[in-house]
Symmetry: C2
DNA sequence: TTTTGTTTTAAACACTTGTTTAATTTTATT
DNA sequence: AATAAAATTAAACAAGTGTTTAAAACAAAA
């Protein structure tokens, strides 16, 4: 089975990337918008404007294609953040500034990515185990160490994980809950973008005051 | 078609609720855990330990059953909150205290509900329009008015919606991202619960300091 | 006990969906 | 131009899924 793939690989370099790339882009769009189960291979084919069979021809199966998209998405999300949190030169506050800036910029372009990732962590399939290896880089990062230092040096009386949850929650939650928030508050899409731009600068300030105010009592 | 239902309704009072209730409980469990599309009617039947056809017998269709579960879930989430945010007697801070307490208590019992709701807001189907009516109660609530007053009276220089996003994000996000957070921080389920209990008291404090620190500059 | 209404069951139906096949068209090589 | 490889297509397949049916089991009423 799949003899075409053997042939393909031999002359891999000469591949016309356009069809393969069209499928990947379409898959990214539909997967992130609808999730794995709700996405039909026929949806991807339609979105890409190509024949149904070509999806399996290039990527063998829906699941293989999904894993590829997933891996690339995670990679994109984490590569820059890895640089930020492992930087030994920057302060905790500086790091939060960079993280907020980077994430919100990314999320304004890919607002469906957080839900996509969260759903996969809940789906239980092993599809997500590759990410877990990547997140190990957090535990030993300079950022994690700085967070831990708050507990000891500065007599902060809360678990550092609270700070991490707060930072991520303040950044990511508006994108997850935006459908409800926009309806409930009656604001438009453009206004939402403006609010998120504001948060790039607000969140680091909030995190800062939140950390400082917890050092005393 | 569906003549059995006509007969049923006539003697509705004499129904043995156990089967119907078993199905509803099973549906709630599976729907919230896997979402609408990933949930198969056969899953619900298996979870309830009853015959497949009984699901359609009692609820006519998967979609009808889902709408029922959805409506009851939303109802449960909003009914108590409605009381809190429309209370004219309590201060903004008191309201955040009550909201944090109520939501976290509820979420510790139903940790999958937020993802369930968010997914439905993104699914685009009209299934969620009934909720939108309910959220209108926020716009005209005492809580919304108090939030708006911050902009004028106290010269706060940020949009009140930021406060709302922060409050909800601080409460809800840890439950959405817990799979990643637990893995990334290497903490256990019991410890997570303890952390959430802590947040009941921490979040109102954070919101308070965050509001006060934004009144000056 | 017999009858009647209700609940439960196994099986089947119609339709969707991931995947494969076999033929055709396009592209590259000689 | 002729040949071989690669890409594309329409059609079909097999498994899964929501729903329905018709018969059986059960419970209540006579």
């Amino acid at each position: 089975m799949y003899t075409p793939f053997v042939m393909k690989k031999i002359t891999k370099e000469k591949l016309d990337a356009s069809t393969e790339e069209k499928i990947k882009e379409a898959a990214h769009t539909v997967f992130t918008r609808k999730g794995y189960v709700a996405t039909k291979v026929r949806d991807i084919a339609a979105e890409a404007g190509i024949n149904l069979a070509l999806v399996n021809y290039y990527f063998r199966s829906k699941e293989k294609l999904f894993e590829l998209i997933m891996a690339e998405t995670i990679q994109k999300v984490l590569s820059e953040v890895k640089i930020i949190i492992t930087d030994e030169q920057t302060s905790l506050i500086e790091k939060t500034e960079r993280i907020a800036d980077h994430y919100i910029t990314m999320l304004l372009d890919n607002p469906d990515v957080p839900l996509f990732i969260i759903n996969e962590t809940f789906s239980g399939s092993d599809k997500f185990s590759s990410l877990l290896k990547n997140t190990e880089l957090f535990s030993g990062s300079h950022f994690a160490r700085q967070l831990a230092e708050l507990s000891t040096e500065r007599k902060i009386n809360i678990h550092p994980i609270h700070i991490l949850m707060n930072l991520m929650g303040l950044i990511v939650f508006p994108f997850l809950g935006r459908k409800v928030l926009l309806k409930a508050a009656g604001i438009q899409d453009e206004e939402f973008k403006a609010l998120m731009e504001e948060r790039k600068k607000l969140i680091p300030v909030w995190i800062k005051t939140l950390v400082l105010n917890n050092t005393t009592n």
